[in-house]
């Protein structure tokens, strides 16, 4: 932070308004989120008390245990693999759908509603359908393709199968954000371009993509974070006895296993801290990239 020598009255006025506007959000975040988070940081240095015994401070023991635990590393790799499928596919498909639906198409609002449906479906229904689709004996995929693939219990394929469900369930969400981004692009740009004789595809690359880049960056950024903290897909579709689980379980899944299932909160907290540090690193890199690729008015 550079220290400013002296502020003009105008700048001071602006700063006061700025602080007033961010105050409710920041106070809320501090109480609701940062206080619990700091608690977790503290816990990660503790052996948390079992059977009603209090916490004992153990320094970095949880961290050194986590760093030498291949399960944690594997789970980080699994998480990254999942993100590599979900983020690009989810963003590109959603962007195309949003652009199509922004054009002059009949039944736009029907399509928009349909694409949004997976978001409102009961998670139990989603899991049931996908389990049925992936079923080795009776599943639709194996029946259509005349194959006998164990989609979700073969460690080599399971991560892709899970990624596909991830893409499928996030498209509607990304699409809504893209549509609201498209709505904020002034129509004159397209009018001017079509007078110049630009076709649909060149309009897409010369106008839509650059002008939509703030929205795209926002979606990519939040989806990367979302994908790296993925958790419920894994337990919804995969049973505990599934042989592919070690190759699919995400870091948050492992954290959950230790914190909730086994009651080892200190170790769980250390795992979360490692994950958060990793996500922060990714975010910093992305924030750097923002200046190069994102176009602001």
């Amino acid at each position: 932070m550079k220290t400013k020598t002296k502020m003009t009255p105008r700048a001071r006025n602006e700063a006061l308004w700025g602080y007033a506007f961010v105050a409710p959000t920041l106070i809320g975040l501090i109480i609701l989120n940062f206080y619990p988070a700091i608690n977790t940081v503290y816990q990660s240095f503790c052996k948390t008390g079992d059977f009603g015994k209090g916490n004992t401070f153990v320094g970095l023991a949880n961290y050194s245990k986590a760093f030498s635990d291949p399960e944690i590393w594997q789970s980080l790799i699994n998480t990254i693999k999942y993100a590599i499928i979900e983020v690009p596919l989810g963003v590109i498909i959603a962007l195309l759908l949003a652009v199509f639906l922004n054009g002059k198409i009949k039944g736009v609002s029907v399509f928009r509603t349909i694409f949004f449906l997976p978001m409102v479906c009961a998670p139990a229904a989603v899991a049931m359908v996908w389990k049925w689709l992936y079923n080795q004996q009776f599943g639709l995929f194996n029946n259509i393709l005349h194959t006998n693939i164990a989609w979700i219990s073969n460690p080599k394929i399971a991560w892709i199968s899970i990624g596909v469900i991830g893409v499928w369930s996030i498209i509607g969400y990304n699409m809504v954000l893209f549509i609201s981004g498209l709505k904020e692009i002034p129509g004159d740009y397209y009018e001017a371009a079509s007078i110049d004789g630009a076709t649909g595809i060149s309009q897409f690359f010369n106008i839509t993509v650059p002008l939509l880049s703030p929205t795209t960056f926002f979606i990519v950024q939040t989806r990367v974070i979302g994908a790296l903290t993925i958790f419920d897909l894994m337990f919804m579709v995969m049973d505990k006895t599934n042989a592919a689980l070690p190759k699919v379980q995400s870091t948050v899944y492992v954290f959950y296993k230790y914190t909730f299932d086994q009651g080892n909160k200190g170790y769980g907290a250390a795992i979360v801290m490692i994950l958060v540090a990793f996500i922060m690193l990714v975010t910093v890199i992305m924030q750097r990239a923002e200046k190069r690729f994102v176009f602001y008015n």
């Binding site: 506007f21 509603t113 978001m119 009961a122 049931m128 049925w132 549509i179």
Partner: protein, 280 residues
Amino acid sequence: MESASSKDMIRRIIVYIILIIMAFIMLVPFAWMILTALKTNQEAISVDPFYIFPSNGWHWETFGEVWQSYNFVLLYKNTLLMIFFRVVCACLTATMAGYAFGRLEFPGKKFLFSLVLIQMMIPSTIFIIPQYLMVSSLGWLNTTAGLVFPGIVTAFGTYLLKTGYQGLPKDLEEAAGIDGCNIGMKFLMIMMPLTRSSMVSLGIFTALFAFKDLMWPMIVCSSVQTTTLAAGLAKAQGQYGSNYPQMMAAAVLAVVPMIVIYVIFQKQFVEGIATSGGKL
């Protein structure tokens, strides 16, 4: 000229085909929910693909049974109240903070915004127990206030609206600045209406996540009288005596208001822009 229009025609047809295929893929689980609701439990747990449609008659009465036994009216009321307050609070706080982060300059802005980003990086499961303790010490267990509590502010929404405000043309504010109206008025009368479509999508997502949230209402509202749809259904169902057709019928009934809300607000999306664009 003619070849251009026939080319255009082909492009349109391709777009329609893609849209229809995607729509079909998206519809599958929803159709599945409805079809399962109409089956007997025996049929429902079979994974054989030849039982896509109910073979022992269509059991529409399941919907009626579920409506009666789950006390849906009460659950709808609680859920809508919670969703409403969460949406109002989230939009209000996020639009203010988003404006400040996106359009105003003040010392420490970068640092404060990084706090917003960091919040999104932390898996939300770690917040639950401390937040539960806060609600219980405020005496808000089994109340709407307790249900709304964690949704008063939103990091995601703040970020979303910051992006929205940043995307607006620079000269807008300068034009208003000349009139000498203060920042608060500028925000209220000029800037905020322009980000209406971002606000609507924030509202839709807030409503959706509030609606889907199972864990928080389960913990905070242990009594069925005050709980929400998601938790109420889960509570009434039990984990083991699973009756799939009933479960799915309940899920369908629960989802209908969400679809209605979405359809209403998606109209707002489009109209909101049309009106504010015309006004300025």
